[in-house]
Amino acid sequence: MEVLTQPFPKAPDPQPVQKVLVIVSKGTLEDVYAGLIMANGALMEGMEAKMFFTFFGLEAIRKDRQDHLHTATVGNPAFMQKLPTMVAGLPGFEAFASTMMRKEMDKLDIPPVSEFMEMIVAGGGEIYGCKLAVDMFKIEEDEFIDDLAGVITVGDMYALAAGDATQIIFI
């Protein structure tokens, strides 16, 4: 019987992630920021980053809406646990809470969505919209940010993720 002197050969070093494709399908403040922070963080680490906004995520690439995103105060059990849902649903409450949250973020040097996207594009990141969702919501091209790299199909989106060291992140 052959005796293995090294029964467990050393695993090769894992290949580092070289590219991320971040898909943002939601339009809440926290979901959009999660996507932006991960894409920007990838660029800061020297990776490539692409972003694909679909469905309610399209709110984040609409010029007049991107800096006014809300966080849900109703139907969000993690938001101020002791606050009664009836109160959280009062008119204006969600807007107020969202403004407060944006202020807190600014203190941590987290930029508004528009500025964050400018940073990502400056770092070589690319931002795309989903064609199907754009058609469905009937959004005109001039409503989108000037930095938008294109409105593309899901097939085009997968092409953006080409490479064997790419990670796709869905939010």
Binding site: N40, M44, E45, G46, D109, I110, P111, M119, A122
Partner: protein, 102 residues
């Protein structure tokens, strides 16, 4: 661990960041930059000093703050220090890796 940069032994962590930023000299910066394919220009050096000044003032460094410093735009910063501007420039500036997500 100890690394010899510009013939001086320097204490660095396992990612190559200085453990004692006061050991840093500009000659070391030139040598470290060359090892990652960067030839330091006046602009690079201005940025290195900016980063070191912020570090010694205990101001947390973020990409956004560098972009607002008036020294460089974020796009230029990426161009000057390819491969992750804030981390590459901080290593060359002899300061710890900024613990920043933005």
């Amino acid at each position: 661990m100890t690394l010899t940069i510009d013939s001086v032994p320097v204490e660095v962590n396992d990612e190559g960041y200085f453990l004692r930023p006061e050991q840093w000299t500009l000659d070391m910066a030139h040598e470290m930059a060359r090892s990652v394919g960067i030839e330091l220009t006046e602009k690079h050096i201005e940025i290195l000093h900016y980063l070191r000044n912020r570090y010694f003032e205990d101001t947390p460094l973020t990409l956004r703050r560098v972009g607002k410093s008036g020294l460089v735009t974020i796009k230029e910063f990426y161009g000057l220090f390819p491969g992750g501007p804030l981390k590459v420039s901080s290593r060359i500036a002899g300061i710890p890796k900024p613990a920043s997500c933005v």
